[in-house]
C-alpha cells in the first residue's frame, strides 16, 4: 500500500479498489495472467474518436431507424415467401437483394471509408489499423444495429486470412480484395462457434480440393462473395477459399433480423486451399478476435438502449410526473448505467489486448463473459421501460433485443467463456 493512496480509503477500506490489499499468503493470485503487469490502455485516442464520429454520421445519414425498419420489413416478407436467397449467383445484383443488407451503406463504410480493410496491413492493401479501431466501429454499428457484414467480412474472414501465410499470393490477393471492399467475405463457421472449440469436421475436402458438407447458421454469408471455409482434407484441417456462387447459401428466418443467418452447403464445390502453418490456430485466432470485438458491438447496443430509455423516460409523463423521476425507475437505470460503463472498460481491455497481442486469451474471455449479459439486460430493460410502445414492431427497439439475444449465443456463450477461463486462471473445475 502506497503512502498516498488517498483519498477515500477511510473506514471504507476494502470497498475501494485502491483501498486494501490482501495480507500475506495470497501471492499466487497477485499476478495471474500474462498481461497483468502492465495495465491496458482503456481510453479512446483522438483518432478513434474521429473514426467514431465519421461512422456515426454515415449511419445517421443513411441508416436511420425508420429506413432500417422498412428494410427489415421487406426482408421479413421476403423470407416468408420462402426460397433460398434468389438462387445464389456471384452477380452483384443477387447480392443487392440479400436483404436486409444495405449494399450502398456497406460500399460507403467498407470501401469509401476503408473500414473493410481496417485490420489489414497497409502493404496488403488495408488501413493498417488495429483491433482498437475496429472495436470503435463495432460500437457504432451496434448502436445502429446496422445491417452490414463488417463482423463477418472485416473481422472474422479477415482475421482468419491474416493468420494464414500472407506471403502466399492467393492469400494476399484475397485479403486485398476484402480490404478494398471489392469483395465481401464470410467465415463459414456457425455463428455460435467459440474460440477454443475443436476444429469443425462438417466439411470435407477431397484430394482434388473439392469441398462437400454443410455449415449451419453462418453470419453474413448472405452478403458474401467469398467464403473462407474450414474443412478437413486428406492432410488434415485446412482453410479454403470458395466463391459464394459455388455454394448453396440458404437463409432461414433468423431471430436477429439485422444479422440474418444462412446455412451453407457445398456439393463438390471448387475450392482453393489457403496456405497456413496451422489452420486450426488460424481459425481460433479469428474466433478470438471475433469474440473480443463482439463485446464492443454489445457495448454500443447497450449504450444506445440505455440512452434511448433515459431520453424517453425523461419526457414521458404519467401520474402527473415525469416517469424517469420515479425512484424505482431511476435506480434501475442507475444500475444499468453502471453495467454499461463496466462493459466499456472490459470491451476496451479486450480490444487493446487484441491490438497489442498481450493477454488476449484472458481479456477477451472476461469481456465476452460479461458483455452478453449486459447487452441483453439493457435491451430487455429498454423494452420493459418503454411500456407498450416497446412491444411494437414499429419502434426499432425490437431489433436491438433480437440482436442482443442472438449476440448472447454468438462466438461462444458467457458460460463457455467462463469455462475457458478456468484453466487460464488456475481455477480448475470440481
Amino acid at each position: 500500500m502506497s503512502a498516498s493512496t488517498q483519498p477515500g480509503t477511510g473506514p471504507d477500506s476494502g470497498m475501494q479498489p485502491g483501498g486494501t490489499q490482501p495480507g500475506g499468503g495470497t501471492g499466487p493470485g497477485q499476478e495471474r495472467g500474462s498481461g497483468s503487469g502492465a495495465q491496458p490502455d482503456l481510453l479512446y485516442t483522438d483518432i478513434e474518436e474521429d473514426l467514431r464520429s465519421t461512422v456515426r454520421d454515415v449511419l445517421a445519414d443513411r441508416c436511420p431507424p425508420a429506413s432500417l425498419s422498412a428494410r427489415v420489413e421487406a426482408a421479413a416478407e421476403g423470407a416468408a415467401d420462402g426460397g433460398p436467397a434468389d438462387g445464389r449467383s456471384a452477380e452483384p445484383s443477387a447480392r443487392a437483394s440479400a436483404r436486409p443488407y444495405d449494399p450502398a451503406l456497406w460500399r460507403v463504410l467498407g470501401a469509401d471509408l476503408g473500414l473493410a480493410g481496417l485490420l489489414v496491413p497497409e502493404k496488403l492493401g488495408g488501413q493498417g489499423a488495429s483491433a482498437r479501431e475496429a472495436a470503435v466501429v463495432l460500437e457504432e454499428l451496434g448502436a445502429g444495429v446496422a445491417p452490414t457484414p463488417f463482423l463477418g467480412s472485416a473481422v472474422l474472414a479477415t482475421s482468419a486470412l491474416l493468420a494464414c501465410d500472407t506471403a502466399d499470393a492467393g492469400v494476399a490477393a484475397l485479403l486485398g480484395s476484402l480490404a478494398s471492399g471489392a469483395a465481401t467475405g464470410a467465415l463459414a463457421v456457425p455463428l455460435a462457434a467459440a474460440p477454443g472449440s475443436a476444429f469443425p469436421g462438417a466439411v470435407r475436402a477431397d484430394a482434388a480440393g473439392r469441398l462437400t458438407g454443410t455449415v449451419t447458421s453462418v453470419a453474413d454469408a448472405l452478403a458474401a462473395d467469398v467464403l473462407v471455409v474450414p474443412a478437413v482434407g486428406p492432410d488434415g484441417p485446412g482453410l479454403y477459399e470458395v466463391a459464394a456462387g459455388d455454394a448453396a447459401v440458404t437463409p432461414f428466418v433468423s431471430l436477429d433480423l439485422t444479422r440474418p443467418l444462412a446455412d451453407v452447403a457445398f456439393d463438390g464445390a471448387a475450392a482453393r486451399p489457403l496456405p497456413s502453418a496451422d489452420a486450426a490456430a488460424a481459425l481460433d485466432a479469428a474466433l478470438l478476435a471475433g469474440a473480443g470485438l463482439l463485446a464492443s458491438e454489445q457495448l454500443g447496443l447497450a449504450q444506445w438502449c440505455l440512452d434511448e430509455t433515459v431520453r424517453y423516460l425523461g419526457e414521458r409523463h404519467q401520474f402527473g410526473r415525469v416517469v424517469g423521476g420515479f425512484q424505482a425507475i431511476k435506480h434501475r437505470l442507475a444500475d444499468l448505467w453502471l453495467e454499461v460503463v463496466s462493459l466499456r472498460a472490459a470491451a476496451r481491455s479486450a480490444a487493446d489486448a487484441l491490438a497489442t497481442g498481450t493477454d488476449a486469451a484472458i481479456a477477451v474471455r472476461v469481456a465476452q463473459a460479461y458483455a452478453s449479459g449486459v447487452a441483453v439486460h439493457a435491451a430487455e430493460e429498454a423494452v420493459q421501460l418503454h411500456g407498450g410502445i416497446g412491444m411494437t414492431w414499429e419502434h426499432p427497439l425490437h431489433l436491438y433485443l433480437k440482436r442482443a439475444k442472438a449476440d448472447q449465443i454468438a462466438v461462444g456463450t458467457a458460460g463457455r467463456h467462463r469455462a475457458a477461463l478456468a484453466p487460464l486462471l488456475d481455477l480448475p473445475a470440481a
Binding site: 483519498p7 482503456l42 423521476g325 435506480h331
Partner: protein, 402 residues
C-alpha cells in the same frame, strides 16, 4: 510548467529526498516529515503544503519509487478519514493558518481524524442534523467561541482521533441546508465523550459521540457561517468518488482469498460453486478494469462520471464474493474467529476470517452514503433524471416534521 510536472522531475525530487534522508537509518516518522516537506506527500497539493503543484497522476510515480526504496508508509488505512475527507476540505476551505497547522501531522499520521457528521436522526438526510453550535458573546467582531451540544453516531476512529471535522446547526430559522456551519473539533475537549458502538462483527470500530458544551474557537471554523453544507459537499464528494493513484493488480481485491481457497483446497469444489466463482471472478476483473479506466481518465485530466459508480460496484461485489467464500468453506464457514469486543486501529479485511469479511462487507453499501442514495445521485447527476420530490426545501429547519 516546471520540471516538477514531469515524471523525471518528480523522480529527481525523490532521489534528492532519499539522498538526504536514508529511510533505513531514520525513524519512520522523521522520514515521513521529511517526505512531506519535500512536497512528495500529495504531489498535486501546493508547495509548502506537502505538494509540488504537480499533476495528480504523478503521485503513482512517487509512490512506486519510494516503495522500491523501502521507505516507510503513513498507514493510510489508519488515517483514512484524515487523508480522504479532512485534507481535501481543509485545502479547499481552510485559512493559511489552518492549512499549515493541520495538514502535516494529518499526513504523517501523528494526528488521527474522524468525521462527526451522522446523527441518530440524520444519516442519509444528513442536512437534517440537530447538533447545535451557538456563538458566545465575545469581543470586537461580535463573537467569541462556539459552544456545541448534540450527539453524533457511527463515528469511525473517534476513539483514536485527535481532531474531528464536524457539522452543526448554527441557524434553525432557515431551511435545513442553509443553517449549517463546518468546524474542526478538538476531540480532547472535556465536553467530548466517546462511547464504543459495537457492530455486527463484534468489534467496536465506531462510536457514539456526545458533545456537551464543547468549546470551539472561531479560528477552527472552516468556511463561512451558514456555508457548512457547501463545505461538506467537498468532503462527501471525496468520500464517495475518489480513487487512489495506484493501479490494483488483477485478482488483487476481495476475490483473492476465495480464489486462493479454491486452489489450495480441492475438497471444497463443486460444479455449482465453480460457475459462481468464475462469474464473480469475471465481475471483479471488470470492476477492476472500470476503476483502472477512471484512473486513466484522471491521469489525462479528463475525469468522467464513471467514478460515481465505483463504490456501488465494489460494495455489491464485496458482499457477493465474501458471501460465496463462507459458503465455499462449508463447515469451516460455520466457525467465527472471535466475538470478543475489540476496538481496532484499522479495518483489516484480510487479517480475519471469511465470516468477518462477510459481515464487515455489509457496511460497504451503507458507509459513506448508502447504495440507494448513490443510485439517486447517478440517476440525477449522470443521467439527468428529475430529482426526488423535496417537501422540505423551503421550510425553516425548526418547522420540519420530526
Amino acid at each position: 510548467m516546471t520540471s516538477n510536472a514531469t515524471p523525471e522531475g518528480v523522480r529527481a525530487r525523490v532521489r534528492e529526498l532519499l539522498a538526504a534522508h536514508d529511510p533505513a537509518a531514520l525513524e519512520p516518522l522523521d522520514f515521513l516529515r521529511a517526505r512531506f516537506d519535500a512536497g512528495l506527500a500529495w504531489v498535486h497539493f501546493p508547495e509548502g503544503l506537502g505538494g509540488l503543484g504537480a499533476p495528480r497522476a504523478l503521485q503513482a510515480v512517487v509512490d512506486a519509487e519510494l516503495a522500491a526504496a523501502g521507505a516507510p508508509d503513513n498507514d493510510p488505512r489508519r488515517i483514512g478519514i484524515g487523508l480522504g475527507m479532512a485534507a481535501p476540505t481543509i485545502l479547499r476551505y481552510g485559512t493559511e493558518e489552518q492549512k499549515h497547522r493541520f495538514l502535516r501531522p494529518l499526513w504523517t499520521g501523528e494526528e488521527v481524524w474522524c468525521q462527526l457528521f451522522s446523527e441518530p436522526g440524520a444519516g442519509s438526510d444528513l442536512a437534517g442534523l440537530r447538533t447545535r453550535a451557538v456563538r458566545e458573546d465575545g469581543g470586537g467582531d461580535g463573537g467569541g467561541d462556539w459552544i456545541v451540544d448534540g450527539q453524533k453516531v457511527w463515528t469511525s476512529s473517534a476513539h483514536n482521533a485527535r481532531w474531528a471535522i464536524l457539522i452543526a446547526r448554527t441557524d434553525p430559522d432557515v431551511p435545513k441546508h442553509q443553517g449549517i456551519t463546518y468546524f474542526v473539533c478538538d476531540m480532547t475537549d472535556p465536553g467530548v465523550e466517546v462511547r464504543p458502538l459495537r457492530q455486527i462483527t463484534g468489534e467496536a470500530e465506531f462510536n457514539e459521540v456526545f458533545l456537551t458544551g464543547v468549546r470551539i474557537p472561531d479560528a477552527h471554523r472552516l468556511g463561512a457561517v451558514g456555508e457548512g453544507w457547501r463545505v461538506a459537499q467537498t468532503t462527501l464528494m471525496n468520500e464517495r468518488v475518489a480513487i487512489g493513484g495506484s493501479a490494483l493488480p488483477r485478482e488483487g481485491g476481495m476475490i483473492a482469498p476465495v480464489a486462493a481457497a479454491w486452489r489450495e483446497r480441492p475438497g471444497l469444489r463443486t460444479p455449482e460453486l465453480h460457475d459462481r466463482l468464475l462469474t464473480l471472478w469475471v465481475e471483479a476483473e471488470v470492476a477492476r478494469l472500470g476503476a483502472e479506466r477512471v484512473r486513466q481518465q484522471l491521469a489525462v485530466g479528463a475525469p468522467g462520471p464513471e467514478g460515481s459508480g465505483l463504490k456501488l460496484a465494489f460494495a455489491r461485489l464485496n458482499q457477493q464474493i465474501s458471501g460465496l467464500e463462507v459458503e465455499l468453506l462449508g463447515e469451516e464457514g460455520l466457525r467465527y474467529g472471535d466475538w470478543t469486543m475489540v476496538r481496532p486501529q484499522t479495518v483489516d479485511f484480510y487479517g480475519r476470517d471469511a465470516g468477518y469479511r462477510y459481515l464487515r462487507a455489509k457496511g460497504n453499501s451503507i458507509e459513506g452514503g448508502t447504495s440507494e442514495v448513490l443510485r439517486n445521485i447517478v440517476a440525477e447527476r449522470v443521467l439527468g433524471l428529475p430529482a426526488e420530490p423535496r417537501i422540505d426545501k423551503d421550510v425553516a429547519w425548526k418547522d420540519l416534521p420530526r
